[in-house]
């Protein structure tokens, strides 16, 4: 399934943007209600957002409120809407769910071309719009180092609960964190030993196996959340917080 992404910053220093939704299970029934555009400029839109959000509030404590769009095939478009207003929630409105015409994108730097296969120059690394054939994120490392990096990152995330790392690493980690939590949900000795072989600190494994059934018993998958944030100063690497849901 598609996980579309939107960047949005309210002022030039406010970057916290989107939810990489891990939880297709929780596609809300209020999907049609949320087809209202995400514009928050007008009070009526805020009110409608308040109404539909309050009806979803029962779902909030246990689930990340997350909806997938009805149009499933949508190319990932980075849409930036800079606003200079003081209130944190006002944004210029844009028209609903129609795909954004790149010709009228607002304030968007670095549009190279407008065909379907355009490339986005993003902070030095070239990213194409498609992901054909890319199975494993390589993280610029040989396989042994890559495995060690991911083991270390999952250990730290399970230990601290929220860590800040680069976006590529955070999105590569998700799979392994979910695997560890699934093993803990299973709870058998074999799974415990497998987890001990992956996680560097054994206290963390034991704590994980003790606490996961209570915490994630009802949740099916999607145990992490990624929040994008400001790029790193030294090398402008895009950073993200990854946290356990």
């Amino acid at each position: 399934m598609e996980i579309p992404e939107i960047y949005c910053f309210k002022s030039e220093s406010d970057w916290v943007a989107t939810l990489l939704c891990q939880n297709p299970h929780f596609v809300a029934e209020k999907h049609t209600a949320m087809a209202i555009p995400m514009a928050m400029a007008t009070p009526t839109d805020s009110v409608s957002r308040v109404l539909s959000m309050s009806s979803l509030r029962s779902a909030l404590p246990s689930a990340a409120s997350c909806r997938l769009p009805s149009s499933s095939s949508r190319r990932p478009v980075t849409l930036r809407l800079p606003v200079s207003s003081p209130s944190p929630l006002t944004l210029p409105s844009f028209s609903g769910l129609s795909p954004v015409n790149p010709l009228i994108s607002i304030g968007l730097p670095d549009w190279q071309s407008f065909e379907n296969g355009f490339k986005i120059v993003d902070g030095g690394g070239r990213i194409y719009a498609m992901r054909h054939g890319r199975r494993v994120p390589k993280l610029n490392r040989p396989p042994d180092q890559r495995k060690a990096l991911l083991r270390g990152l999952t250990t730290q995330l399970l230990k601290h609960g929220r860590i800040k790392t680069t976006r590529a690493r955070a999105s590569a980690m998700r799979k392994f964190v979910d695997k560890m939590i699934t093993m803990a949900k299973d709870g058998s000795l074999h799974k415990r030993r497998q987890a001990l072989g992956f996680i560097y600190e054994k206290q963390i494994v034991h704590a994980l196996f003790a606490e996961v059934p209570d915490r994630y018993g009802e949740r099916n998958g999607g145990y992490t959340r990624i929040i994008r944030t400001l790029p790193r100063r030294g090398d402008n690497a895009p950073m993200a917080y990854i946290e356990l849901v």
């Binding site: 601290h160 929220r162 959340r225 946290e243």
Partner: protein, 173 residues
């Protein structure tokens, strides 16, 4: 499309601590020279002293400011959610918390493990609170929702949050 682009929802501030609200007041928070935007990273050493908070509004309106940490002691196990850092009531609009009544003295952020969110919530008061509220018995296990309900404050009018983590003991070379 993502569920919401509001940073308070993305950072789960609305959900863990607050309910969905429409901001009706402006609040600008400064720790020293640094202006706080949602989700920015602040070092605990810059947050030792209470921040400068400028609240919009008329001077005949009274506001309440609360600063909490929902990730105490650790974001993976928030047993002591929320840890309350600062409560100031009866702040006249258009001024700052030094003109209000400080119910609970400011405590600096001291995250032991992980990256904690520190949330500053502003409520509009319907009437002067004065002696109706005393200090909470302990800073742990505070509930902003219950506090607002107890004082009949309703929904917040402004919120901002920042992240902080423990600084390494020795400076990295």
């Amino acid at each position: 499309m993502a569920a919401s682009v509001d940073p308070l929802v993305v950072g789960r501030v609305i959900g863990d601590v607050l309910d969905m609200f429409i901001p009706t007041a402006n609040m600008s928070v400064y720790f020293g020279p640094k202006h706080i935007t949602n989700g920015c990273e602040i070092k605990p050493s810059t947050a030792v002293n209470p921040p400068k908070v400028n609240i919009s509004g008329h001077s005949d309106e009274l506001y309440t400011l609360v600063m909490t940490d929902p990730d105490a002691p650790s974001p993976s196990e928030p047993n002591m959610r929320e840890w309350i850092h600062w409560i100031v009531v009866d702040i006249p609009g258009g001024t700052n918390p030094s003109r209000g009544k400080e119910i609970l003295a400011y405590m600096e952020p001291r995250p032991p493990v992980g990256i904690h969110r520190y949330i500053l919530v502003l409520f509009r008061q319907n009437s002067p609170v004065g002696l109706m509220v005393q200090q909470p018995p302990s800073r742990a296990n505070f509930s902003t929702r219950m506090f607002a309900g107890h004082l009949d404050l309703g929904l917040p009018v402004a919120t901002v949050y920042f992240n902080a983590q423990k600084e390494p003991a020795s400076r990295r070379r």
